[in-house]
Amino acid sequence: MSSTDISINQDVHHVHEEHDHHHDQNFFQKYIFSLDHKVIAKQFLFMGILWAFIGGFLSILFRLQLGWPEATFTFLEPILGGWVENGKLNPEFYLALVTMHGTIMVFFVLTAGLSGTFSNFLIPLQIGARDMASGFMNMLSFWIFFISSIIMFFSLFLSTGPAAGGWTVYPPLSALPEAIQGSGSGMTMWLISMALFIVSQLLGGVNYITTVINLRTKGMSMTKLPLTIWAFFLTAIVGLLAFPVLFSAALLLIFDRSFGTSFFLSDIYIAGQALTNTGGSPILFQHLFWFLGHPEVYIVIMPAMGLVSEVIATNSRKPIFGYRAMIGSLFGITVLSFVVWAHHMFVTGMNPFLGSVFMFLTLIIAVPSAVKVFNWLATIWRGNIRFTSAMMFAIGFVSLFISGGLTGIILGNSAIDIQLHDTYFVVAHFHLVMGAAAFFGMFCGVYHWFPKMFGRMLDEKLGFVHFWATFIAVYLVFMPMHYIGIAGFPRRYYNWTGFETFNIFTDLNTFISIAAILGFSAQFVFLFNFIYSIFRGRRATENPWHSNTLEWTTPVLPGHGNWPGEVPTVYRWPYDYSKPGAAEDYIPQTVPFSQTQSSNLPSERDFE
């Protein structure tokens, strides 16, 4: 409750603003325990990038095993130590790799790294606020995330390994330390880390929602908000409603594991001995988990959608097509995300009638998704396109979202799911539609807003190299997976050479692994570009992309408080690009209609 004593401080308030540029802050206040949303955003970004490299590296390790099942990996011994025995990857460690790859990518990179970075950075800048509603809560959000990260990172180095029951941590596997090594202290740390992670996300989300609702500048009505803000806002609402349920599930699992309760355990025999647990239901966990787990994929993809909408409109030099439809479809996705969770559970023996209800609701999601895709394509259509790196990633996002989304329609059918469940078809589907697509959205955001973050430009040539290598690699990795998935190739199998049916896919698996290594290597181009450009990049101007939104009206490197003087007033929506009759091909939101009489539409004459 750091800032509860506020309402009498009104007079003090203005004094603070004036002292804005020379208040004495030491290094720790300025860069470590900062209350400035921009610094916190960068902290989330750096952590996200770090985690992305760890998560990516883990995937390369298990791709080595899958691509070359007969090979010996003695060269990995210096890194992995006891996990490589005589050159063979330990099977339980393989499961741990898969689990940690999923956990890290879904939660630490694409939730905290994506929402944490861009919601924090863009919400105050684009709505015209000096900072988040509570800077203290915002700082707390990052530091709790940091502690959660440390615990999760530390669990990688346990002698029994990190959690290994899959990122979905289904009990009884995850609940019984006797089941696999990874369900020992690795799983305990996973649960503690995730519980902290949820607290961090809730603190962040509460701030995002409050800020968007309450702190918009003069003239910034909800229908003048950039689509980025709408996406972050609705993402935060989804998180606020979904994450507490995961917290409940995690808490019950903690009790089952450490306090001897039986919420998810019943009638289990280990080596012929019955456990004392009776009366639990493992399906109950799946319901609780997927009630978060499904909205979670929208928590991952919606911010990317928002970033892409903004970048596509700016770089097509055209108003976004169907602004209201874009908001409406985000609303549709938000609502639907909560009523489709059981499509992950079609094969748990659920009532087939219930299955068809969830199938119906699932397929409806295709409608808002298609609206969005149509609108992006219609925005690009006949646009005066500028192929910046950010724009390339935005277009790449749309491509991946279409390719991955189409298989969603196939997987959503409860009958087809019986064949495809837990095969590489599912892996291909969700990696394209939420994994790679969300990554592309994040890259698109980094390339586009880098100048505002660091006052310098990223190198465009390296950006192109990064884009094409990543884009091609992603398709080379995931397209063949559809094929082996339809053939029944199961996920999470350490060794598949023992099965006659799957032996024929050896070459294809090697191919996928090579493509994955290529794709991972390409990320080092980005890393170099990112670090180099922070220090040596070309200096940015205030508005390098000729964009309309408010963040480009701030100085090149905005201080705490964002605008040195008054917060600008907003007069128009953010998508007045290439307006007929206008002097330039963009009109920032801060330009009143009285100054643009030549381009005003008949309906806008009243505002002059």
């Binding site: 409750m1 750091s2 800032s3 509860t4 004593d5 506020i6 309402s7 009498i8 401080n9 009104q10 308030h13 603070h16 603003e17 804005d20 208040h23 209350l35 900072d131 509603a133 509570s134 800077g135 203290f136 809560m137 809730l202 989300g205 509460v206 701030n207 929602i209 409050t210 800020t211 609702i213 309450n214 702190l215 918009r216 606020l240 409603l241 994450f243 507490p244 349920v245 917290f247 409940s248 599930a249 808490l251 019950l252 009790f255 306090f259 001897g260 309760t261 039986s262 919420f263 019943s266 009776t278 009366g279 639990g280 239901s281 109950l284 319901h287 609780l288 009630f291 705490h560 408080g561």
Partner: protein
Amino acid sequence: MANFQINDQDSRTGLHPLKFSLWLIIISIIMMFAAFTSAYIVRREEGNWLEFELPTILLVNTIVIVLSSVTMQLAHNAAKNNNLGLLKVLLLLTLGLGTAFLIGQWYGWVDLVQNNIYFGGTGSNPSGSFLYVLTGVHGFHLITGLVFVAIVYFSSLKYKVHSKNMLRIQLCTVYWHFLGGLWVYLYIFLRINH
């Protein structure tokens, strides 16, 4: 402290941003208990469910927490009317009633254990464990509420709670009413599902 103080006038909704945040936090707590209680119903439908009597003391606790809500509201009104002496007494009373509720809940657990309803271990059934979880997690939140009331009490000793500085006690009152309401919901829920 943040460099940029925010006040009611800046806010679009006319509601102080912190108050708005508090409501959002309350929503997330509601979602958590919605998960617990719906898990309870789903699990109960599946059978193998131990039926037992709720400890009678829970009814007494319910009355105590409702009373504490009344004293909290009166404390809020006293602050509004600048009746600072009464404010301190009522805040202390709220603290006392809240603590009494927690002690009562503890005796509820003692009662359960005496009836061989255990949280975990051999012979425990999810029906009992759920009761412990619901009361325990609610109790945890009530402790956070008590800490908040204590903070308001100590700032009232420094004359920082009065009609021109109502934010802190307003937040506290909203949170305290919520915690009381949450318990009343849980009690009715448990009564119906027993």
